[in-house]
Amino acid sequence: MRANKAILYALAIGLSLLVLAPFLWLVRMSFQTNAQIFAFPPHLWFRPTGANYAALWEGEFTRSFMNSAVTSTASTVLAMLLGVPAAYALARMRRRSDALSLWIVASRLAPPTAFAIPYFLAYRHLGLLDTRIGLIIIYLTFDLSLVVWLMRPFFETAPRALEEAAWIDGAGFWQALVRVVLPSAAPGLAATAILCFVFSWNDFFFALILTRTRAMTAPVAVVNFMNYVGWQWGRIAAGGVMVMLPVLVFSLAVRRFLVSGLTAGAVKG
């Protein structure tokens, strides 16, 4: 039995290394010079360089990084402000509507061109192309439904006795929601907010189509860079690492909620 377990562990470790290897290779590459990257056979040991990161940081990459941060944060805040009360209301209402559920799920799952085309056409006239506001609005299409679907189960399982007690004490409905219900759902709120942020941050398609330069986000900037200096792999890798760093940290922090976030609450992980 113990031998079995040892084999199992070895297998699990081996597999996780295999799965992680491609990712680690990219990280490694971001610390290499171009000559080291192209060397054959590859050097196992090399003196790491920070030059790739330095070059990125002094370039205009920082601006796209800021755009990503601002648009992701703003759409998350908006989606939370609007979506949390709605999720609460849905959790407390007796009747459910199939159509409403379908609408919310479908807007989370629709193919991106479905929104990209009308938004692009409308933004041309509204002057919202290449603006952060334009991106924030389109990120609401998936963030809002995400908030509703993630938060509803939290409110459903929260005991109603507390808020009812608050009403009897003379608190208004709003007060009860803010002072009693929300604090009890704090972990869920945090996880939901982080997932919203991650999804907006990860967006590539909408930013590719709806921004030019001023509002360009970090993922688009990295790809642009890739087309531009196709063989400076060290810098491309460094750009990739910078784009993934915040997301990696955040998502591992809320890993318990990842699955429900990615499946819009269909499965609790």
């Binding site: 192309l129 642009n224 200096v229």
Partner: protein, 448 residues
């Protein structure tokens, strides 16, 4: 992304090494001061000329009081985005690169400004600026039917053949190929020698292949821009497509079908691939870039021809002003400054820029000296290509509005042949059918 190019710019600037600064161009009179304090926004794809020019921006800002801010993007992304930007009539930009393949579309749709209103006004543009000095073949595609000019040439990407390892060809007892048949012969003799692939290219087949199509007696359209019936499945088209796809498949380095310009350049710089035909801009670094491993063995020649003659490609990108710009006057001041004879001479002299569009500059001694590469007079080759171009008739296929869609069909067909998915006749027949459909969708009436 502009700043990311610093290394390369520095690299190439090093080439110019300590050339003395010439006095500032005389064009800049006091009249320009009325725009002092404004900022103009420009957009360009990553083009060497722009990198060189931007080193002089502080001078321009000091002399005119106009601030210049440029956004630089990769070529495919720039085109896609600028196309959309212009279609919205946006006022984001005041100066843009009018890309060659979009000239027909953007000028035809009225999205860029008629520059005659500036050049015809002696108060705005002195006679010494001399607009007719720009090579006519280069300017042809930047004019409308009435002869008005909408952009002035920044880069005449004239195609040459360059072999990084000409020594290998010598050793095989051969010379640089001048015909398509010779290309195959030379490739067969040198491929794989010293670990060097014989041929390399970027994946923009619809730019790289047409010279061979035309040399074989074929054409992209029956008579662009008047008759846009595509002719992609004619015998010369099929034969030259098979020839070109076979060249890449048999003699290209691994992954050649996915190469961007930069990757193709790098395959030559690092000595992993030998020959390429493309714009002179991509051939210059082989002789001049400090990271080149082939500077001592590179040799230049004309693009190989065929039974129907020589048709080296020339892509002419120009500076223009979007219709929606609210600072057209200041934008023109910038273009006038950037493309003056004096400035172009400086860029040639100090940076070794090869793709100038002004005849007076091309014929100057400075240019000839600069384009003496590895002991070879490449300036003469460049002029020869521009002469070949004449009025630009054989390049007109590229500047019709539907070309981007048709070009995509060409790319996919060559890919399909090179990867063995389809035979040349089948692939080209399909490309023809799809091209016809795309052209009709674009609202053009065509018929057999």
């Amino acid at each position: 992304m502009q700043r990311l190019s610093v290394t390369r710019r520095r690299m190439l600037a090093g080439v110019a090494g300590g050339a003395a600064l010439l006095p500032a161009p005389a064009v800049l009179g006091k009249a320009t001061s009325k725009y002092a304090g404004t900022t103009i926004r420009g957009a360009a794809f990553s083009l060497p000329f722009h990198q060189y020019l931007s080193t002089y921006f502080p001078e321009f800002e000091k002399e005119t009081g106009i601030k210049v801010a440029f956004d630089i993007e990769a070529f495919p992304i720039y085109n896609q985005r600028m196309d959309l930007e212009l279609s919205t009539g946006g006022s984001s930009y005041d100066v843009i690169i009018v890309t060659f393949i979009y000239q027909g579309k953007w000028i035809g749709a009225g999205w860029v400004t008629d520059l005659d209103e500036f050049t015809k006004d002696p108060n705005v543009t002195p006679a010494s600026w001399d607009p007719v000095d720009f090579v006519p073949g280069v300017e042809a595609s930047m004019r409308d039917a009435k002869g008005h000019t909408y952009a002035y040439g920044v880069e005449a990407g004239a195609m040459l053949l360059y072999a990084g390892r000409a020594d290998l060809i010598d050793r095989a007892g051969l010379a640089l190929p001048t015909t398509m048949d010779e290309v195959l012969k030379v490739c067969a003799a040198v491929h794989g020698k010293a670990g060097v692939a014989a041929w390399t290219a970027d994946k923009l087949h619809h730019w790289n292949w047409p010279p061979y199509l035309e040399a074989s007696g074929g054409r992209v359209f029956r008579d662009a821009p008047k008759d846009l019936m595509p002719l992609l499945d004619t015998p010369p088209a099929v034969a030259s497509a098979a020839w070109y796809a076979g060249l890449l498949k048999t003699y290209g380095p691994p992954g050649v079908l996915s190469f961007t310009d930069d990757q193709a350049l790098h395959s030559q710089l690092s000595g992993r691939a030998n020959m390429r035909t493309n714009s002179i801009t991509w051939g210059l670094p082989l002789a001049k870039d400090p990271s080149s491993t082939v500077a001592k063995t590179v040799r230049y020649g004309m693009v190989p021809g065929g039974p129907a003659g020589d048709f080296p490609g020339v892509a002419c990108h120009g500076f223009g002003i979007p219709k929606g710009s609210k600072k057209k006057g200041a934008a023109w001041e910038f273009i006038k400054w950037a493309l003056s004879k004096e400035m172009l001479l400086r860029v040639v002299k100090e940076h070794g820029y090869p793709s100038v569009c002004r005849r007076s500059v091309i014929e100057s001694e400075v240019f000839k000296e600069t384009l003496t590469l590895n002991g070879q007079d490449v300036a003469a080759l460049y002029l020869k290509v521009l002469d070949q171009l004449g009025d630009g008739a054989y390049m007109r296929y590229r500047t019709v509005p539907v070309f981007p869609a048709v070009g995509d069909k060409i790319n996919r067909a060559i890919d399909a042949i090179a990867t063995g998915q389809q035979t040349a006749p089948v692939a080209m027949k399909e490309a023809e059918a799809q091209a016809i459909e795309a052209i009709r969708m674009g609202g053009y009436k065509i018929g057999r």
